[in-house]
């Protein structure tokens, strides 16, 4: 059955979110970042990922959620969308699950403090657990950043 979607599940402010695995290039521990001036606060800076310079964003900051110090569980998920490579810092990375594409439902207006436009939908992981799928294109869209700033 080709209707399955492989998803990386991670935690952000006690909520479970998912990113399609084909967008994920790797999961790293939180690495020392070099600050980049004159950008948004949620852009933590750039890291050296095996010789490639990659920007890193704090996903809590991106969604305006309360920012907390990173625990040893925190991870940087390296994603690639439309040729843009970005590291996304999350509270923890948990699992890889298969999701039935036919069972993805439209997201509610707002969930866990994140607006629906950044979300792709809600899917069932198993009997009683749900995962919120992120719309990475929107999350990493620079035009959206400007709106966010207002």
């Amino acid at each position: 059955m080709d209707e399955e979607l492989k998803v990386i599940v991670f935690t952000l402010a006690d909520e479970k979110y998912g990113i399609e695995i084909k967008r994920v290039k790797g999961i790293e521990r939180v690495m020392p970042v070099t600050r980049v001036p004159n950008t948004y606060d949620f852009i933590k800076g750039v890291i050296n990922l095996r010789g490639v310079v990659i920007p890193v964003i704090d996903l809590r900051g991106r969604f305006g959620l309360p920012v907390e110090a990173y625990t040893h569980n925190a991870r940087t998920i390296i994603v690639e969308v439309n040729d843009i490579e970005v590291g996304v810092i999350v509270d923890s990375a948990n699992d890889v699950v298969d999701i039935d594409i036919n069972h993805i439902e439209d997201p509610p207006e707002i969930i866990g403090g994140i607006k629906a436009k950044y979300l792709r939908g809600i899917a069932k992981m198993d009997e009683n657990r749900f995962v919120v799928l992120l719309n990475l294109e929107k999350v990493l869209n620079n035009c959206e950043l400007i709106q966010f700033n207002h």
Partner: protein, 678 residues
Amino acid sequence: MDMNQYLSMFIDESREHLQSINENLLRLEESQEDLSFVQAIFRSAHTLKGMSATMGFEDMAALTHQMESVLDLVRNQKLEMSVFIFDALFRSTDSLESMVQDIMQGGTGRADVKENVTILKSIVSGDYIKENADGKDKSGHLPAHIDEFQFAIMHQLIESGHNVFRVEVELEENCILKAARAYMVFKALEGSGEIVKSSPTVEEIEQERFDRTFSVYYISQVEESELCRIIGNVSEIESVNVIGLTSDSLKELMVGQENTQNTMVTVADTQVVEQSRGKAEPSAKAAPPPGNALPATRTIRVDIERLDALMNLFSELLLDRVRLEQLASEIRRTELTETVEHMSRVSNDLQNVVMKLRMVSVDNVFNRFPRMIRDVAKSIGKKLELVITGADTEMDRIIVDEIGDPLVHMLRNSADHGIEQLAARVAAGKLETGTIQLRAFHSGNQVFIEIEDDGAGINGEKVLNRAMQQGLVTQDQASRMSEHEIYQLLFASGFSTAEQISDLSGRGVGLDVVKTKIESLGGRVQVDSKRGEGTTFSVQLPLTLTIITAMLIQIGPERYAIPLTTIVETACVRKDQLRYVSGMRMMEFRKNIIPVISLHDILQIPQTELEIAETIKIIVVRKGEKLFAIPVDDFLGQQEIVLKSLGKYLTNIIAISGATILGDGQVALIVDTNALIN
């Protein structure tokens, strides 16, 4: 059969062959007797025909086939090149180029080649002469260009008292057997002298490939009147024109001939023969003729992406090297130190090799300029010569790719505005032919490209007036500007609008665009000029964009890299040397007052103890003609760094041009000092 896998090879090779045709046509135009150029063009056309037919590009094949036919006649000396044939071949080459361009962009390579094919066919059949004979210029059947050898013979014979004539014969309009009549004239002439040269050639006349006139250079003991009588004996002849040649008129002819060939003419009292040798030099400088071409080097084609991958891998290695050197100096074990030192040397050599792989010669862009200048000269009615030196100078492929357009702009500018009109040049006592020198050379880690014309130079007053009208400079500023500073106003943005070109005898359109482009490549451009003598644009570019030498600095908790090319010097100054002048922090530096620009504000660096210290470390940086100082906490030394982009997510970060990875694996940002000051 799937041809796609061969397509890129076809495109590459077609472009090379077209370039070679273009170049060789230009060389042939300069020295029409040299059949080796014809051979080279023929071979290229032949290969193109074969390739395009195989790939199914029929229009290309049809056109190259006709070109081949024309060239075949020329190389077998059955057809003499003329302005008309040159133009036809150039036009056909253009048409082929646009077809290849179309194929590159995924098109079918179809084009209407009918017109060009018809013209070429008419050349092969000889019909074009009839079409062009009436009305148009008679240059086609003026006596053929005499070569040095023929000139020398005639010159000598005149000196030794022989009569040398130019005989022009016109046959009657209703003459039926033209070749036979011409033959009779030749026969009659040969009875009492010798024919040095005929135009059209004897072969062409035998094949009746001429209109009604032909002419010969003729050496004889008989007098003019006798000659007229001899030829007059042949029937069906309309007119005979016999001109006796003297030593002087022969020289004039030789010089005039060079003029029509649009080459450099140096009128001197020394031997004319030497001069005509001299004229071959410029083309020899531009590129070696096929005759003494280098033996073909063995090459392979490599995908550029693979080279980039190699470069990336190598830069990883470079980081580890720096790290290893650090560790070795900490651990202090002889074996380790020696091994690391050896590795450093090897990696230095490797770096050179890797860099060289990415280097291409500037000839890749220069090679299209002779053709461009030829076309510009024709369209604006000036005589121009482009002298290229240093075309084998190498630099990074990326820069070579990008530098083409700015150079085209400056060259056109020199041709259009730099070189005066013919009449003005003559009035100024200059040669009719304007010379544009295009030079490339290495100096240190930089490549210099200069464009020098021998035109009228820049009219500083006009430039200044225009700049003041445009509000680019105030009256006050203007009065204090040096001539050199005034010239640089040409690059000011907003200086050029369409209206100015006509007003300003100097230069005009879009030089600010040129400057922006060159600066974005990490280079600089300047202009200098001498009234009445000419103008020189000089462009200075880095050899490569991927590895640069930079000064690492510490400011607060952060480290930054500043490219060494922008740094004038580093210094320590006493705190009291800094002062406030109308709200701006300034300092005295080598008898100049220069601004002090703090990176704290611009880069939002957390404030440090900097202000408390008695002495302050500064870096003096140059932007164009301006200097300014940047205070830093510490100098961390200079280092070769590998330039990395910040990626597409972070674009247009103020005053940051990129990033690099330091020996400890951390990322440091590279400061774009040009953005620090306006």
